[in-house]
């Protein structure tokens, strides 16, 4: 992850949105290439190595899904994040089936886009199989499914454990609410309530309550992040 590729291809026809994405990614230390149509995107995607490809679902002349399919046929395995103005469940399934790796509905918070890009980039880096995860003085035993902090056992419900596990696995990175809902509950809609915040709030009370420093942080408008103080 330290020397991972930080180059992203953005295929987006809307000039302003494209510029916003590219600016944001550049600001966050990424090198972003922009393609404003499908053909350029295909060319760049085939010739250059990227960490992630961000592609709009509805391009002026060609379907974004077709580009992904052609890249896959050409042997490009770079993870693809589809951004779409269509929020249909069906559409999402079609996108993922066509070879997309993640799906984000327009408009989105840039922080969420970044979180998802980072998650995809991490996925292409090596995944280490561990049985115990540690952040600060927090310890998760993935086999026994127990949690303790500073040697004190914390009782969590199975789902709460999964939430904490997912957050800890992505230590230092922002995990958007919708991503948590996808990965832990396997749900693919954005609940119109703040229920995830309330739920994570409860996990936080159990994990961070009466502790020297907090581990679970809320990133306003986006999601959560587990981080130990340096």
């Amino acid at each position: 992850m330290i020397r991972a590729l930080r180059r992203v291809l953005v295929i987006e026809d809307d000039a302003e949105t494209a510029k916003q994405i590219v600016d944001f990614l550049t600001m966050r230390g990424y090198e972003a290439d922009l393609a404003v149509n499908g053909d350029d995107g295909l060319c760049l995607g085939e010739s250059t190595e990227y960490a992630v490809i961000v592609i709009d679902r509805m391009l002026p002349t060609v379907d974004g899904l077709a580009i992904i399919r052609r890249l896959r046929e050409a042997g490009v395995v770079t993870p693809a994040l589809i951004i779409s103005a269509l929020g249909e469940v069906d559409d999402r399934v079609r996108g993922l089936r066509a070879g997309g790796d993640d799906y984000l509905i327009k408009p989105f918070a840039f922080a969420e886009l970044l979180a998802r890009i980072e998650a995809l980039a991490r996925r292409s880096a090596t995944v280490v199989k561990e049985t115990v995860l540690r952040v600060g003085d927090l310890e998760l035993d993935l086999v026994a499914r127990t949690v303790n902090r500073g040697g004190r056992n914390i009782k969590l419900l199975p789902r709460e454990f999964q939430v904490l596990e997912y957050l800890v696995r992505n230590e230092g990175h922002v995990v958007p609410r919708t991503m948590l809902l996808e990965k832990v509950w396997d749900l693919h809609f954005d609940p119109s309530t703040n229920i995830i915040d309330v739920y994570v709030g409860r996990v936080r009370r159990k994990v961070d309550g009466e502790q020297a420093y907090p581990l679970i942080h809320t990133i306003r408008g986006v999601g959560f992040c587990v981080r130990a103080p340096r």
């Binding site: 302003e16 944001f24 600001m27 749900l187």
Partner: protein, 477 residues
């Protein structure tokens, strides 16, 4: 199944009515033939009898009693009056001459009468024969009776009624066979149309009613229905295209707007005042977007009308997960969420949509229920139906509002101050409709119960949805 349908069908009833009418006509026809034949035969025999009586009266007038007796003997041995009987009796009805042994039981003089008797010279050993006769008193006080054997007419009547019965039986059997086969054919065609309609309701507009190529009225009906389906499919596709475009064209500028705001908020040079303005605007924009997403989502669910993505899911499992997720929110109000009832309520459904719908119900129940109250999700199986109900023990809503709450953007007076957009129950209703479920509200006294009744599904496959099987939270029941 098909037989029961055949017996219930309108065609079959019409066939039965026409069989009845036809049978009645046949009976009337036979009756007419019978009546006219017998009256014809009777009138012929009557005039023959009268002629004989007149002849004998003449003989008596000419040559007195002896002449009459001679004439009787002569006529009864002659064969010109077939089946005739004669009897001359004295004043006290004692037989004097003729072919009958005794005076029969007959009506008064001059009246036509029928009686049964043995004939002296007629076919020996037979049963009593049926005669038709007329008698009169002669001048010397003796009585003269002339009759004719009409046994054949009786036999004819028997024959006729036998034939009638046979004909009727034949008609009914043939008509029954014909009507059942015609009805079956009709029911079969209707059934194929019904089956396609059901398939369309279940899996979308792709199906068409099969044609037989006979160009009959059924084929025409099927063709018309098919072209209707084609039109509907086309319109739906157009509507979808339009809503896709609207979604795209609306979302793109909103995306730009949100992007600008986000960029502005991340630029640290902005003063605090501006920053809070920007954050508030972004929050409002997100509300608009969420409402917009909810609306398009409801439209999409309503337009989808297909169950292709359906899997067998355990409703209890989903309800339990929702309960656990929302328990944290209920805790904030000092209450709790519990799941009660059936442990395995399997239905064919879309897990995401069900989760969303139940979440909305539980969310409402927590929001509008009592502080510190209990929100209960109850699962039940009755008559093959799976029933899920979500109840709170809060103030409930007035029953006259029941019918309005499923309308989009409808909000009760007292909930106007709380967050929400009045789309939650519309989404629940759309999801319920997609799953063929009935949705009803009850007064929980106190509180409100929303009940979803999922229909019985006979072909639930064993392939259950394993997506959520990894870890299942369970509440003690």
């Amino acid at each position: 199944m098909l037989l029961a349908k055949t017996l219930r069908s309108t065609t079959f009833r019409l066939a039965l009515i026409s069989i009845g009418l036809f049978g009645a006509v046949v009976i009337a026809l036979f009756g007419y033939v019978y009546c006219s034949t017998t009256s014809f035969v009777l009138s012929r025999s009557d005039s023959a009898i009268e002629a004989e009586l007149a002849t004998l009266r003449n003989a008596y007038d000419k040559s007195g009693r002896e002449g009459l007796i001679r004439a009787i003997e002569q006529r009864s041995s002659a064969a010109n009056f077939e089946g005739g009987v004669y009897l001359l009796a004295d004043e006290l009805f004692a037989p004097v001459a003729g072919t009958l042994k005794k005076w029969p039981a007959v009506k008064g003089a001059g009246e036509w009468t029928e009686f049964r008797s043995d004939a002296l010279n007629s076919r020996a050993g037979t049963d009593q024969l049926l005669f038709r006769a007329r008698w009169e008193t002669l001048q010397n006080g003796s009585h003269l009776l002339v009759g004719k054997d009409i046994t054949d007419l009786g036999l004819f009547a028997t024959e006729i009624s036998g034939a009638l019965a046979f004909a009727l039986l034949l008609i009914f059997v043939l008509a029954a066979v014909a009507s059942v086969s015609v009805t079956r054919r009709t029911v079969g065609r209707i059934e194929s149309i019904n089956m396609t309609s059901r398939a369309i309701m279940e899996s979308g507009l792709g199906r068409r009613i099969p044609l037989r190529g006979t160009q009959d009225e059924w084929d025409q009906l099927a063709q018309n229905l098919n072209s209707m389906l084609e039109r509907i499919e086309m319109l739906m596709a157009e509507v979808k295209q339009v809503s896709d475009n609207v979604a795209h064209d609306l979302r793109t500028p909103l995306a730009r707007m949100r992007g600008r705001l986000e960029k502005a908020s991340s630029e640290s040079s902005a003063p605090d005042h501006d920053l809070s303005l920007i954050t508030e605007t972004m929050a409002d924009l997100d509300d608009v977007l969420r409402m917009f997403s909810s609306l398009t989502r409801i439209s999409q669910i309503e337009a989808a009308n297909q169950t292709a993505g359906f899997r067998t899911v355990n409703l209890t499992e989903i309800a339990t997960e929702v309960a656990e997720l929302f328990d944290a929110a209920a805790e904030g109000k000092g209450g709790r969420v519990g799941v009660f009832g059936d442990k395995t309520a399997r239905i064919s459904a879309d897990r995401d949509l069900l989760f969303d719908a139940i979440s909305n119900l539980v969310d409402n129940a927590i929001k509008y229920g009592r502080d510190g109250g209990l929100v209960s999700i109850r699962l039940d199986q009755k008559n093959g139906e799976t029933i899920l109900s979500v109840s709170d023990d809060g103030p409930g809503i007035p029953s006259e509002e029941f019918e309005y709450v499923f309308k989009r953007f409808y909000r009760l007076e007292r909930s106007r101050g709380t967050p929400g957009n009045g789309l939650g129950l519309s989404l629940v209703a759309a999801v319920a409709r997609l799953h063929g479920a009935n949705i009803r509200l009850f007064d929980n006294a106190p509180g409100l119960t929303v009940e979803l009744r999922f229909p019985f599904i006979d072909n639930i496959s064993e392939a259950t949805d394993h997506r959520s099987a990894a870890s299942v939270y369970s509440t003690p029941f």
